[in-house]
């Protein structure tokens, strides 16, 4: 685990804890609230050690009520504090849906720019962890359709730290979605100390000329594995775009890559119907039509109401590198 000075290999969740620790130290207006974030350090341990370090006033165990976690955060934000609200599982954000859609996302617009809401809502998302219908959901599409809130989804520890710090300092509300399956599985180099990764730009993780693979969060890692495999085994050169920020979307990068390859495969682990990938596909079909050189493909979850618990059924439900590689080959062969 030794690494060059000032760069260390960390897990995704270590990077997130570090970001919160540094922001709490930097700005006394920053506080954390959510269920079990205090002495317990969060059920995923994202806030571990912060209660001991910053005290009960800055790391606040909330009542078991998500609506209030978000609404209290909003109210506190306009009183010139900087709340980081933790929703224990993305699946449990829906009691707060009205507050996020009707309030958090509209304060700024409906007041003609008078009231901005500088708050972060963190939520772990995603399946493949034996969580069944209610501990596995991908929730990005529902929130990405709501104008007025930024939606960020890091895939690497470095981005996770840099994007979370940017989110805390953003004058606007940011929904920060964390791939829980990768909390400990995803490791990577994380610069020490203060740095910001800008909210907005996508990241071309891998250059290629044959087709463009769009992914984010946990799926970005499976996409990378698949891309490397088809390069090795089939000589297919895939360009991999990690969206990183879903709202606002980096349309320029999305479109320019497609103009280069003419073929698009969009991967997401949410249900396919009206999932986030539908917007990417629509943008390409509408704004890059001249470059289309094959069907615009979406590889996503079946349209059933949740990720099943039973192991083999869950595995059949989830996207994996094999499915992605097969989809790449099929599209390339087109």
């Amino acid at each position: 685990m030794t690494a060059p000075a000032k760069i260390e290999t960390k897990t995704l969740i270590q990077a997130l804890t570090e970001a919160m620790d540094e922001e709490l130290a930097r700005d006394p207006r920053v506080f954390i609230t959510g269920e079990d974030v205090g002495p317990r350090g969060g059920v995923f341990r994202a806030t571990q050690g912060l209660y001991e370090k910053y005290g009960a006033e800055r790391v606040v165990d909330s009542p078991l009520a998500e609506l209030s976690i978000v609404a209290i955060g909003l109210g506190a934000a306009i009183a010139d504090t900087r709340p980081i609200c933790e929703i224990q599982f993305g699946d449990f954000i829906f009691p707060a849906f009205n507050q996020i859609l009707s309030e958090v996302s509209r304060f700024y617009y409906r007041s003609n720019g008078a009231w901005n809401v500088p708050m972060v809502i963190r939520a772990p998302y995603g399946g493949g962890i034996g969580g069944g219908l209610y501990h596995s959901q991908s929730i990005e599409a529902l929130f990405s359709h709501i104008p007025g809130i930024k939606v960020v989804m890091p895939s690497t520890p470095e981005d996770a730290k840099g994007l979370l710090k940017s989110a805390v300092r953003d004058p606007n509300p940011v929904l920060f979605l964390e791939p829980k399956k990768g909390y400990r599985a995803i490791k990577g180099e994380v610069p020490e100390g203060d740095y910001l990764t800008p909210i907005g730009p996508a990241n071309v993780v891998r250059e290629g000329s044959d087709l463009t693979l769009y992914a984010y969060g946990m799926m970005m890692h499976y996409a990378r594995i698949a891309a490397e495999r088809v390069a090795r085994e089939d000589g297919i050169e895939v360009e991999l775009v990690d969206l990183r920020t879903l709202v606002p979307l980096d349309k320029e990068t999305v479109i320019s890559s497609f103009k280069k390859t003419g073929k698009a495969l969009i991967v997401y682990e949410d249900n396919k119907f009206l999932g986030y990938g539908a917007e990417i596909a629509s943008i390409l079909a509408e704004e890059a039509f001249e470059y289309i050189d094959g069907p615009i493909k979406r590889l996503a979850a079946p349209d059933v109401p949740g990720v099943p618990f039973s192991h083999p059924v869950q595995e059949a439900f989830m996207i994996n590198p094999d499915k992605i590689a097969d989809a790449i080959r099929e599209l390339e062969a087109y």
């Binding site: 209030s68 009183a79 009231w115």
Partner: protein, 351 residues
């Protein structure tokens, strides 16, 4: 009906000028409100929602606050409340007409969706009760900043309270439950004013809840008090006590102010479809304006000449605001329809 544990007759300290001020705002709100109804009947404005019948409690509540310092989360029926906080007749009229310069939303929101950041009047939606946990959150933020020794121009010198208002029907929403839960668990500098006119549009209170709002509030560790909201002096007393409690770290209060909605729910409503002629007749007796006028006359604080002067002044202000708003230009759509307007630019100060 329960009464609050009174720490003193705060209204006893009100001067004649204070009383006249309270009367003045009640009168101004009423005349402005009446004009809105006329404009709607004339088809000049699409919608109006009224404070008629609620003025006493609203003016008294605002009068008991440290205006411009305390944070206020009102609701659509609070015309008299916000006028007393500094919202102007022109602000209101610009809203009715949806004209350029409307301060709450630039004409983006319906009328009576108040916001004036300079007055600490916080923007609200049409979605009832959502402001209750917001106010609790702001109260939490106030307490947090104090605990962290964070002082700024607004709150360095004095304590602050966060105040929200809503109707009694809206207390059926989970928002009310969750907001009051925080207020009680953290003993926040928070006041919730429930303007109980006994109707949620057409639905009477007995279909909303089984006990009084004040009783329901107490189980949250919040001081629940009920008051005759048609008497501004009684309302001033309970409101002032609630404010003192908040300033002194004694915790949160929920004030149930009983009153009558003397008009239909809004210009879209017809209350004769659910209130009997007798009932509509009876409630006129609860009109706070003539009642307070009589009180002040009996106390020798108000007389006909002062009253005529106020009426003339109110009429003048209403006319001016109406004319100015009617002749004002509409907003330019280009300033409201781009996603550029969705987010605040990165504030350097924040980095």
């Amino acid at each position: 009906m329960s009464t609050p544990t009174r720490e003193g007759q705060y209204s006893a300290q009100l001067t004649s000028d204070d009383m006249l001020q309270i009367y003045w705002y009640m009168l101004l709100s009423r005349r402005l409100d009446e004009r809105a109804w006329v404009l709607h009947r004339q088809g000049k404005i699409p919608f109006h929602i009224s404070a008629i019948g609620h003025e006493a409690l609203q003016v008294a509540a605002a009068y008991a606050l440290n205006r411009g310092v305390d944070m206020v989360f009102p609701y659509y029926r609070d015309l008299a409340f916000v006028l007393t906080l500094g919202y102007t007749p022109l602000d209101f009229m610009l809203g009715l007409f949806g004209k350029e310069g409307e301060p709450s939303s630039g004409g983006r929101q319906m009328p009576s969706h108040w916001s004036r950041k300079d007055l600490n009047i916080v923007t609200q939606s049409s979605v009832v009760a959502t402001q209750v946990p917001h106010a609790a959150g702001t109260a939490f933020g106030i307490k947090y900043r104090q605990s962290q020794g964070l002082q700024n121009a607004d709150d360095a010198s004095m304590s602050r309270v966060a105040v929200c208002s809503l109707g009694e029907g809206s207390t059926s929403q989970g928002e009310w439950h969750e907001g009051l839960t925080w207020a009680g668990v953290h003993d926040l500098p928070f006041i919730c004013i429930v303007e109980n006119n006994n109707y949620a549009i057409s639905v009477p209170y007995e279909k909303q809840a089984s006990q009084s709002v004040a009783e329901r509030a107490r189980v949250y560790g919040v001081n629940g008090v009920q008051v005759d909201g048609t008497d501004p002096l009684k309302m001033y007393d309970v409101m002032r006590e609630a404010v003192e409690r908040a300033y002194n770290g004694k915790g949160a209060t929920c004030i149930e102010a009983k009153c009558q909605r003397l008009v239909p729910h809004s210009s879209d409503d017809d209350d004769r479809t659910y209130r009997s002629p007798e009932e509509l007749q009876e409630i006129k007796a609860d009109d706070p304006l003539p009642a307070f006028k009589n009180t002040l006359m009996e106390m020798g604080i108000l007389n006909d000449s002062i009253n005529d002067e106020y009426e003339t002044k109110a009429k003048q202000m209403v006319n001016d605001a109406h004319k100015q708003a009617e002749s004002a230009p509409y907003p330019n759509p280009e300033n409201h329809l781009s996603h550029e307007h969705n987010f605040a630019p990165d504030a350097e100060g924040d980095f």
